[in-house]
């Protein structure tokens, strides 16, 4: 990153922070996916639970995820300020001071973990605390800047919410809970590397050792295919452990086939090899990187459909049992 951008990040305080800026610190889009997978973990247990306590558990997962996002933005302000996708974030743009974002994140983390422990149970609280610390300290402060395996290992933090939800409902985390965690864990590398192939120059400019920056686009495309080959059978596995039923089976087989086709198409392409200057935006196609953009966009739909299928199957089952 340039000296100019660093000093701009350090001193800028262009406009006063609005409350909406603090909401943006929570990374609401990431938070919504975390809430969705955490809720699915909670419902998939088929364990009747007081609806108010269940809502508190989901609230704690949401606030914990938001707190992680705030701590991440507080620490990564220098990186965010250089990348087009993130330069408008409140800390990077200088609307919120780094220290304020840090305090905000710590207070929300304490609130989420303590409330989970007191109102729900200590296993769920412990898993939530581990997730926040893993994301904010292990991933953000250490892995992200030091290894191309950053999002592989760091992906554990994003994968844990279903286990937290399961623990909140039952006080246990059996095989099926960890199967859901494993699916998100294996989904993370293809998802983020496809994004990185579509915006690799930004990561290089910011000094973040993402896989395409360190190993090149060709190696990244191969690794995306290899992770996809593990992910798709893993996503089908819940059918055989009685976690997923007919709807889930249909989604995991058909959705997995499409995922593999897109991963193969990306592997055979030259995505990520041309300069990625082009229109801004998460879903914008950069020159020569359409295959990467397509897999990135589809990966979100694929994970959403898998967990939606579980949510529908178990949600309906739970509703029928309560009648």
């Amino acid at each position: 990153m340039t000296e100019a951008s660093l000093s701009e990040f350090a001193t800028a305080r262009a406009t006063p922070a609005r409350w909406g800026d603090y909401f943006v610190l929570l990374k609401p889009r990431v938070m919504s996916l975390v809430v969705f997978t955490g809720l699915t973990g909670l419902i998939a247990t088929d364990h009747p639970m007081n609806p108010i306590i269940a809502a508190v558990a989901v609230l704690c997962i949401a606030v914990g995820a938001g707190a992680s996002g705030a701590l991440n933005m507080a620490f990564d302000g220098d990186i965010d300020a250089v990348m087009r996708r993130t330069m408008n974030r409140p800390v990077a743009a200088g609307r919120i001071a780094r220290g304020d974002a840090m305090i905000f994140g710590v207070i929300l983390s304490a609130f989420a973990v303590m409330l989970m422990g007191l109102a729900v149970n200590y296993l769920a609280a412990g898993l939530l605390l581990f997730t926040i610390v893993f994301y904010a300290v292990i991933y953000t402060m250490w892995l992200k800047r030091s290894t191309p395996q950053n999002i592989v290992i760091g992906g554990l933090a994003g994968a844990l919410p279903p286990a937290i939800g399961w623990a909140a409902a039952t006080g246990q985390t059996p095989l099926n809970a960890w199967l859901m965690v494993a699916i998100i864990f294996m989904w993370t590398p293809p998802h983020f590397w496809a994004l990185a192939l579509n915006s690799g120059e930004d990561y290089a400019k910011a000094g973040v050792p993402m896989m395409p920056v360190v190993k090149g686009a060709k190696s990244t495309r191969l690794q995306i295919l290899l992770y996809s080959l593990i992910l798709v059978p893993l996503a089908i596995a819940p059918v055989f452990t009685h976690l997923g039923h007919i709807l889930y089976a249909a989604v995991s087989f058909v959705g997995g086939a499409v995922f593999l086709l897109l991963a193969i198409r990306l592997w055979r392409s030259r995505a990520g090899e041309a300069p990625t200057a082009g229109p801004d935006g998460l879903y914008s196609v950069k020159p020569g990187a359409r295959e990467a953009r397509d897999l990135f966009a589809y990966s979100i739909l694929y994970l959403t459909l898998l967990f939606a299928a579980l949510l529908i199957e178990h949600g309906l089952g739970l509703a029928m049992s309560l009648r």
Binding site: T15, P16, A17, R18, W19, I52, L115
Partner: protein, 55 residues
């Protein structure tokens, strides 16, 4: 009547600060309500459990 500006920070910054203060107040009220409801639910559950044990 003009709005007081004790920190001499300008109208826009003062408005942003007032809104932040309002959101903190709302969050505190929500927190109190949440703890109250959780206490009722937990106490109710424990009381029902005690009744089951004694009967």
């Amino acid at each position: 009547m003009s709005t007081p500006d004790p920190f001499n920070e300008g109208a826009e910054a003062a408005k942003a600060r007032r809104m932040r203060s309002l959101m903190i107040a709302l969050a505190l009220v929500a927190f109190i309500a949440l703890i109250f409801v959780i206490t009722l639910v937990r106490l109710g559950g424990n009381a029902a459990h005690l009744v089951q044990q004694t009967s």
